[in-house]
Amino acid sequence: MSIRAELKYKIMKDYGAPAVMAFQDFKRRKPRPVPEAFGPPLETNKRLKEILSRHYFLSRYVPGVKKVAWVTSGAPVELLRAFDFYTIYPENHSALVGAKKQGADYCGIAERSGFSQDLCSYARIDLGHMLSGKTPAGKLPKPDLLFCSNNICQTVLYWYKAIAHELNIPLIHFDAPFVTTEQTEADINYMAQQLQDMIPILERVSGRVFYQNIFEDILKRSMETSKTWGAILDAMKAQPAPMTIFDAFGHLAPIVSLRGLPVAQDYYHILMEEVDARVSMGIGAISDERYRLIWDNIAIWYKVRFLATFFAERKMNFVTATYTNAWAETTGYLDVKDPWISMAKTYGQIILNNNLKHRLDLMKKMIKTYSVDGMVMHSTRSCKPYSVGQFDLRKAITADLDLPAVILDADIADERVWSEQQIHTRLEAFCETLEGSKFG
């Protein structure tokens, strides 16, 4: 660790980052007008921007001070936190690129270098970033370590292997067997043992020693943060719901990428307070919530604003989503008294690593408990584990619950896949059916 780098990092952390945040805040002083269809925006949005910008900003000064790890969204990051890695989430970064409508540009870089256009766009964007250094976040530090788990998809393993090869850095992979009926003892022991096997490698890469008590504190914090996130999502059962799921897509970032850190824990307490207050005052995320919807699959990042407005104008609010729920669903399994086994249970059973019966039951439960009137499924070209099975899920849900549903063919971050005409036609037809079914 270089003293100069550490000093610079400290100055940036204590003075540089606050100054930059204050400047950005000044630039944003004139808030964008909120369309009539929406209720008052969440105050916490400002805090969200601050902590994310700060995280990306500080990452530039991290090399030489902390080791940097690139991590997948479903990986058991608590273990890395115990070694004080500075974590970057390429999926989160790709979503950011997608939201800025720059996905095609980054994908193009990866494609021109030989990666197929048929690969997941999060991966292509990240590979495009890796090959060109381009990023809307200013600059991202190169990783010292890659940490991935196939509990969300096998794609991340192929993708991280490609980065590990290109950058010649170590890759730690957490193999999470897919849950076809239920986790077996062998599955759980296998995962728990893998986690323990990682300790010497992490000690070597980080140059730090593993302390069980530090790890347990992180685990506790992570568990508490996920529970708060779950409570925030629960609050959306209120009518009108205090947030839309499009808000939640944004507020999800800290639970994904800062999980286990005090900043995320504090952040969700603030958000929880605001959400609670809105519920008690009857403030809704949209001005006149008459229909409540469920979203399935990852967001269409480059169309979040469009979709939010389209539905809000029709008095339709998304009050729940399988995607946002993923970081709250299995938290209950975490147990500091039995960290390894409990992490195996938590991380092994997340929605994308679980069978479709589980997903069907979960969706039906969400539809009932959130008083949902209709379902929008995003069938994304990028993501096989999220999308294969959706046609039959829709069939089962519409048949059992008599719920109007629509499937939108699009992509998470590659805007070239969006077909304006087709999506409009489907959405209009869906809205008509929904209106007819509820009040017709």
Partner: protein, 366 residues
């Protein structure tokens, strides 16, 4: 050498009352099924158009997944013991649960997880556990496993592997006089013949004492399935010989080297899994895969590489870029074709194959 027709053969078997399980790609402990007297009939690219599967799967799903679902939806008589979905890729993982939990079939659906990534003692222990769990699953449906039967199954498997290794070796060194089409027909017959019948077939293969004529252009092929028969025929016409392969339906399912004869079946099956060549679907190391391919190319004196990529196959598409880049850096000519398993060969592909083989031919002549 007479190779029975796949569907006729399986129909005949089913009529005898043989238990037949439909198995999806790619790696599974076939010996355990054999020990329960269950025949494994593999479903990779059944013939017929994709019609009904389109109502269940998006357009961006690979044709192997779609074709196998189309086959399953027909509820074919030849499959009477259930379906087995090994964990191969994200698409097959979901298809397994989709068929079992959402679509529903009249037969039982089984799954088998293949560990992913780099392997160590933890993985080895886990693989043993899952073998034993799979055995228990079969025991609850059928009967307690007869250890002797499992040992016999492993011995049979070992003999088949030994023959296949010898045949691969003979192919690489020109000691085999089979056309491309005949050769891959023979390789793929293991997907549906009873192991004893397949072994019998392999025993008939004539391995020449002396190397045959070696004028042909020599090619290695990589991908999931061998090129379609039209492409193989065309390569035969052009005088191109596929001398080695890195195919999931081919050499990636045969141990890298000859193993000791089995004495303890579970140990044998565990060892066998870990000595298979590197494979994208197991998330293996890229350098290791590249090294394996380079060695095969060298040993077979292949002059170029043909990648036959199944459309939308993520495991292969990710590795493909690096493999192509590395081969090109070594000045090895590479041709990539993309297939949706269609039975014709497009004019454009024909032209590309011709140009590619001419290039190889020129390289040999100069």
């Amino acid at each position: 050498m007479m190779i029975p027709d796949r569907s006729e053969y399986l129909k005949g078997l089913a009529q005898t009352g043989q238990k037949i399980m439909g198995v999806l790609p790619a790696l599974y402990p076939r010996e355990l099924l054999w020990a329960f007297d269950i025949h494994a009939a593999e479903i990779w690219d059944p013939p017929g158009e994709i019609l009904h599967a389109n109502a269940h799967l998006q357009t961006t799903i690979c044709p192997i997944v779609k074709k196998s679902l189309e086959f399953i939806l027909k509820d074919p008589d030849i499959i009477n013991a259930g379906y087995l979905f090994p964990h191969t890729c994200d698409s097959l993982q979901n298809l397994g649960t989709q068929v079992k939990d959402l679509i529903g079939v009249s037969l039982p659906v089984y799954t088998f997880y293949n560990p992913k990534g780099s392997f160590n003692n933890t993985t080895i222990k886990y693989y043993r556990d899952i073998l034993q769990n799979f055995q228990l699953t079969l025991e609850t449906i059928y009967r307690p496993l007869d250890p002797e039967k499992l040992l016999t199954a492993c011995e049979l498997s070992h003999k088949i592997d030994s023959h296949l290794l010898a045949i691969h070796q003979a192919r690489m060194t020109n000691h085999l006089s089979l056309s491309n089409e005949e050769y891959f027909k023979l390789m793929r017959a293991q997907e549906y013949l009873l192991p004893a019948d397949y072994l019998n077939l392999l025993e008939q293969v004539d391995i020449l004492d002396q190397p045959g004529e070696s004028l042909k252009t020599r090619l290695m092929v990589s991908g999931i399935l061998p090129p379609t028969s039209k492409i193989l025929e065309f390569l035969d016409e052009l005088g191109v010989s596929i001398v080695a392969d890195d195919l999931l339906a081919g050499s990636r399912r045969i141990p890298k080297f000859s193993m000791d004869a089995p004495s303890s079946p579970i140990d044998y099956l565990t060892d066998r899994f870990f000595v298979l060549p590197p494979c994208s679907t197991r998330g293996g190391d890229l350098d290791e895969r590249m090294h394996h391919i380079s060695t095969r190319m060298k040993d077979s004196r292949a002059q170029g590489m043909l990648f036959d990529m199944v459309k939308f196959c993520e495991p292969e598409l990710f590795d493909h870029r690096l493999l192509v880049k590395t081969l090109r850096e070594k000045s090895i000519p590479v041709l990539t074709l993309e297939t949706e398993l269609e039975h014709h060969i497009s004019g454009q592909d024909k032209t590309r194959i011709e140009a590619f083989t001419e290039l190889l031919f020129d390289m040999v002549s100069t």
